[in-house]
Amino acid sequence: MLSFILKRVLQTAVLLLAVSVLVFIGCQILPGDVAQVALGQFATEDNVRALRLELGLDRPAYVQYLSWLAGILQGDWGQSITTKTSVATMLSERLWNTGLLALVTTIIAVPLALILGLLMAVGAGRTWDRGASIVVLGLSATPEFLIGTLAVLLFAVQLRWLPAVAYLSPGAGISQTARALFLPVLTLVIVVTAQIARMTRAIIANLLTQPFVEMAFLKGVPTRRVVGVHALINAVGPLANVVALNIAYLVSGVVVVETIFAYPGLAGLMINAVQARDLPVVQACALIFCATYVLMILLADILAHVYDPRSTAQTAEVKV
């Protein structure tokens, strides 16, 4: 099992390297280069050449890539073209805000979704399950920006409880942070909960049709124990996998939700940078998002593997 984890970690490291190459290439193929973009279309040939020299753009692409990568590993993410400040400083505060948003969403959505999915699976086929299934299916196929705009309409425009825009300044107090977080978190929680609940229901409902569950009932085991012990012990691995994957999917949800509420997070920074073609910032943000996603998928894989009875068989063999 340890060898599996080691293998997957190594694979992920290679994958991350490949991603960094792709991100780098992605930002290199545009017409004109950083110097051209920075100085605008009215810049003279000489000025552009000078800046190019200054930024090291005259070097071969692989040298530029390696020095970029070396910089990142040392915490130097380069300099923004538009603001002329260090990318690392721009990132730090935004990263914290986005992390907070994802964390609060996860803490609320995961337990909620697991309980909801479990209840649906236990009542599979009953009215309550069929109703909930349609709602959950509907919500998981609904774009974040519909839920987000409806939330704004209800809470900010109609009820006037909260600001439509998540104003969050550095050093904000708890109540201000909570007000700023409420609508973005609500939107994400609805989408993520629907997705996890749907998969949880499928996993557990499938386990409940297994012969060993029928056997447990025929042994006189009460329903609570059949679901809580016999089904759940087999569901832990797949459920952990589902949860990790959905946290990875949060990445795309965050991008849209930050835009709706003008939430000062990493995604907002990235989108502005894309529009301004501020490539060092785009590269940094893309790398952070991809790395998070890849690492969550790694975690999901490892969890699924650890709980697979066949993989633990090998460890059992050693013990016997």
Binding site: G26, R126, G138, S140, A141, L146, V255, I271, A286, C290
Partner: protein, 279 residues
Amino acid sequence: MLDAAVVHRREMKLTLWISMFIIGLCTLVAIFSPWIMPHDPTEFVTDEPFGSPQVGIWLGSDYLGRDLFSRLIDGTRTTLVMALAATALAHLLGDTLGLLAALRGGWVDAVISRVADLILSLPKIIVGLVVVAALGPSIVVIVILAAIVYAAGVFRIARALGSDLVNMDFIKVAKSRGEGTGWILFAEILPHVAQPLAADFAIRMSFAILFMSSLSFLGLGVQPPLADWGGLVRENLGGLAAGSLVPIFPAIAIAVTSVALNLFVDSLDEHQRKQKGTR
């Protein structure tokens, strides 16, 4: 208790009909949009932005005073044509490569699988942002991007379906007879995978609609004055603070279409399972 199963079946049928109705309606609107639109989608019908609904301007006017209803109908065509093109391309690519990989195995399978793994291990929306940053937003770029990103998922499914079948005895029978790849692929395998792949097409199309709308919503998809549904939400988002419902309508259109596609596949699936069960 008595006839829960009967009620359930009726319900399944109802959701099937509703979802089919919505999908059919969207298709008709997309095909006949130039004849249905009451106004030119770029024509200014009122002076005030976010004007309230009135006769002839059924859903009100947008942030520039254009007829939202007409823009919505025009957007239907843009949205659906783009999603259809992207999904069709994704399936063309993914199905062919997936079945080929399943049948051939060896290095062909290994190489394509690694590429698909790489694509699947990246967050789609971020890939979209980087590509748009590099190439600029254009419909062709976005459609091809969506096609490639979703082809990886289609590939996985087609390959899984294919490799399940390749190990079935009837394929071994055909192989031991000496049948060529063409016969095995088209006569033996295709009839078994056509239906699950068609179901995937519908689901995948709903993903494509959401993905491309999201890009447009972020301002990195379809560019004005043309607008798909996602773009219409973005343009008019400012009206929300004033209590205008204008940005809600296109968002609802996306949700309804996407839910209908999912519901259609889900209830069709259930419907067939039920029929098989009773036999």
